[in-house]
């Protein structure tokens, strides 16, 4: 099991510079709690003019365009673009199975979380990082603003693997605590023997914009095993005896492909965005290219 202390730093200065130019996008209309720097699709109060509409009784007279009334003798109401903040949740799976690979899947997840969180902080969104099934202390406070970057990174660095809680249970807890709407990015390897379907279904009720980023290490995608092996599950200690042969590896690949295809299908049918990421792919590529393609950032 690799030592997490030897892992590279979460965000490099070059990446920070590139992330500055990005912002988080939501496909749904949310009502932010505070004014943010985000131009919402909602129309509301801001300095940026959007449109006119006819006056109906009850409208705020402060937004009446009096100049037009003087010219046309008709009442029009000025509409403005609403600027608002966004609730951005990042959920990290910190089970023991995530502590594998080089870099570990957990570290990779932290890098992704840091990058996305930074984008949110820069745009004055409300960023909240949590580990699944983590204790109350493991939860970072709601962060906002560029100045919270340091706090966010410290919080991420404190996250340790070992929280082996079933995915469904921890997501239910999360859903109960956070009824708000926003963007949810779930960083997990989905390797839960009880299945991921029940867990993801919990998030549907929240009307959140859900992104499932499925992180697998190259060792899981292309296992390089030989000989007669006794495989020991690091989470529950379950033992599986295998004798590695070409046909067995072929069967494994088929199983893996079916597993990934099942997850993608499940998510797509339910309006979630699914993305399989190998830890061999650089984080900045994932953020600046793949997530951009998926529409999470722009």
């Amino acid at each position: 099991m690799p030592d997490s202390r030897n892992q590279p730093e979460l965000l490099s200065p070059e990446l920070l510079a590139r992330l500055e130019r990005l912002e988080l996008v939501t496909r749904k209309i949310f009502r932010g709690r505070l004014k943010g720097e985000r131009r919402s699709r909602r129309q509301g109060q801001s300095v940026e003019f959007a449109d006119f509409r006819n006056y109906v009784p009850g409208d705020d007279l402060r937004f009446m365009d009096w100049n037009l009334y003087a010219r046309l003798d008709k009442l029009f109401l000025k509409l403005f673009r609403e600027e608002e903040d966004l609730h951005f949740f990042v959920l990290l799976d910190a089970s023991t199975s995530m502590d594998f690979g080089d870099p570990t899947k957990l570290h990779y997840a932290k890098q992704l979380a840091a990058a996305l969180g930074f984008i949110g902080l820069v745009r004055a969104d409300r960023v909240q990082l949590e580990t699944l099934g983590g204790s109350r202390r493991a939860r970072a406070p709601v962060l906002r603003g560029r100045r919270s970057l340091r706090q966010m990174l410290e919080c991420l660095a404190d996250m340790q693997p070992g929280a082996n809680v079933p995915l469904a249970e921890s997501l239910r807890h999360f859903a109960l605590r956070n009824s708000g709407k926003g963007i949810l990015v779930l960083l997990t390897d989905l390797l839960d023997k009880r299945g991921y379907e029940q867990a993801l279904r919990v998030l549907l009720a929240q009307r959140m914009d859900v992104y499932v980023i499925h992180i697998l290490s190259p060792e899981e995608l292309e296992p390089d095993l030989k000989g007669d092996l006794r495989l020991v599950d690091c989470e529950d200690g379950e033992v599986t005896d295998i004798t590695v042969s070409r046909p067995l590896l072929d069967r494994y690949q088929k199983t893996l492909a079916a597993f990934v295809a099942g997850a993608r299908d499940f998510c797509t049918r339910r309006g979630m965005v699914y993305m399989l990421v190998s830890t061999a792919v650089p984080v900045e590529d994932v953020v600046t290219r793949y997530l951009r393609q998926r529409g999470l950032v722009r």
């Binding site: 839960d192 290490s217 007669d228 092996l229 006794r230 295998i242 004798t243 067995l248 069967r251």
Partner: protein, 653 residues
Amino acid sequence: MSFLNTLAWWQWVLLSAVPVAIVLLYFLKLKRQPLTVPSTYLWSRTIEDLHVNSIWQRLRRNLLLFLQLLLVLLLLLALLRPGCRGTQLTGQRLIILIDNSASMSATDEQPSRLEQAKRRALALVDQMRSGDAAMIIAFADTAQTQSFTENRRMLRRQIEAIAPTSRSTDIGEALRAAAGLANPGLTRLEADQAVDESLPATLYILSDGGFPAVPDFALENLTPVFLPVGQAATGNLAIVAFATDRNPAQPDRLQAFVSVANFGSEPATVIVELRLDGQSLDLVELSVAAGGESGWHFDLPDLDAGVLQVVLERDDALALDNMAYAVINRPRRARVLVVTAGNEALRMALNTPQVQQVAEVTCVEPPILTDAMHLRQAAAGAFDLIVYDRCQPAELPVANTLFLGSLPPGGAWQAGPVGDVRAIIDMDRVHPLTQLVDMTHVKIAEGRPLQPPAGSTVLCDSVLGPALAIAPRDGLEDAVLGFPLVVAENGETVPNTTWHLRPSFPVFLYNAVRYLGGSHSALVTASAAPGSSVTLRFPAQIESVTVRDPHGAVKPLQRTGQSPFTYADTHVLGVYEVDAGAPQTVVQRFAVNLFDPRESNLQLRSSLEIGHETVPAQPALQPARRELWRWFVLAALIVLLLEWYIYNRRVYL
């Protein structure tokens, strides 16, 4: 199967440790190396369905162990040098002579002697080691030689292709073909210098031995092995002769003569049936002593033409000789032209009823020899025989000729000076021309000793020298009598001999008309031996004929020059029909019969005489040990491949 120990005891001890080591290693192999993985979730789903078949999986895993143990066992067995009793071929070069003559069609071996010989030849080919070369020679009276080859498949194909024949046996040609390899010839320029390297070869003769000894043959580098085929004491009844001729007592009637031989060791009684064109004509029961022969005359009604068939009502080992054919062809009167300046004795002798029955005689004067019409007729073959009495044509005609007191033109025939012949001192009594001609008391005044050309036969010798000779000429024959019958003296014709007063004179002329006129062969055609060539005489204007063999196959023949037709495809026993085209359909028939006591004698010979050597019969090949270890090594290799395949294809826990 037997084994030979090839290793010392301590080597065996070491080797026997190998299987134990494999089993031990197998148990060691089962100790799996533990490996911690993020999750066994995907792995357990991968092998989920294999759990269902886990017993089979375990068996399959053990299969590898069993295969490895089997591999070692096979190798150990191979080290024991297993072998079995087999037969040993000697020599790296084999020449296999297979007899396919008539006697090899005997069915005392199932299905026949030839099939048995082919089976044994195939067994010989199977025993060939790699690098051995063999040559197949099928022989009857001629040999069919194949080239030397190491290709066993080709050898098998060549052996399978050998078909039975009805021919007689002569091993000489086959031996000469075989000797061509083993004893290469010497160059003529430098004596004792071999043209090629001599290659010793073993000569396997698969035959019943029914062929004459080969006295003038040197085996030298050939080592003969005689493998007799057939049962030792196989009896057989055979027709060894069947002929028809005119009845001497009643010349207008025919008689048939059949001779049956018994080649068995027991006396036998057999019913002989005579058929004419398939219809039964007569039956007779013949008793034939062991090793003896018995004959019978059948009197036949007056026949114009037909096919006579004689059948032995007996089912014995050789069916070919239980049937014989004879052909009576439609008689045709010979066209005879006599060119004479006047010879009463000759005219009278040719006017006898016997001669008139077989010939149409025309007498003309010598001046006709320059007549253009006559020359055209003579050149077109309008006559069968032309008799020149004391005269000579400018060119020999396309006909048989008989010269009386003169010589044929062209200079091939020469004669000495005229002298006093006095008497005849020797006669050929076998030749058809001089059969039954007795000239003991004949007196002759003058004549010339003949100097006939090469290839001729002297039929009659006088005190001076040859007095009567016959010589072949392009399929025709010229007979010359060295003395005239009459001479002209003072303008009168006086006899030169007393021959015309003797009965032998008309007999001679009758013989001449029958033999040279062709009516002898027309009446009763002699039987031909299978494989021999048959000469077919037809008038010169017929350019082509077709021959239909007993199986119905038709072969056209074209005449080349003036020579008669020659038909050589007489492989099948039976009656052949010759068709000269319209208007007559079948104009001539001839029969092909076996009539070979040597082929009909199915007794197995105990030895062969080749050159000065006596080759004893070897009932079987020399027993030898056949090594089987190669097969065990091969099996081990196959097991190894199988093990490798299963190891690579396996999917189990």
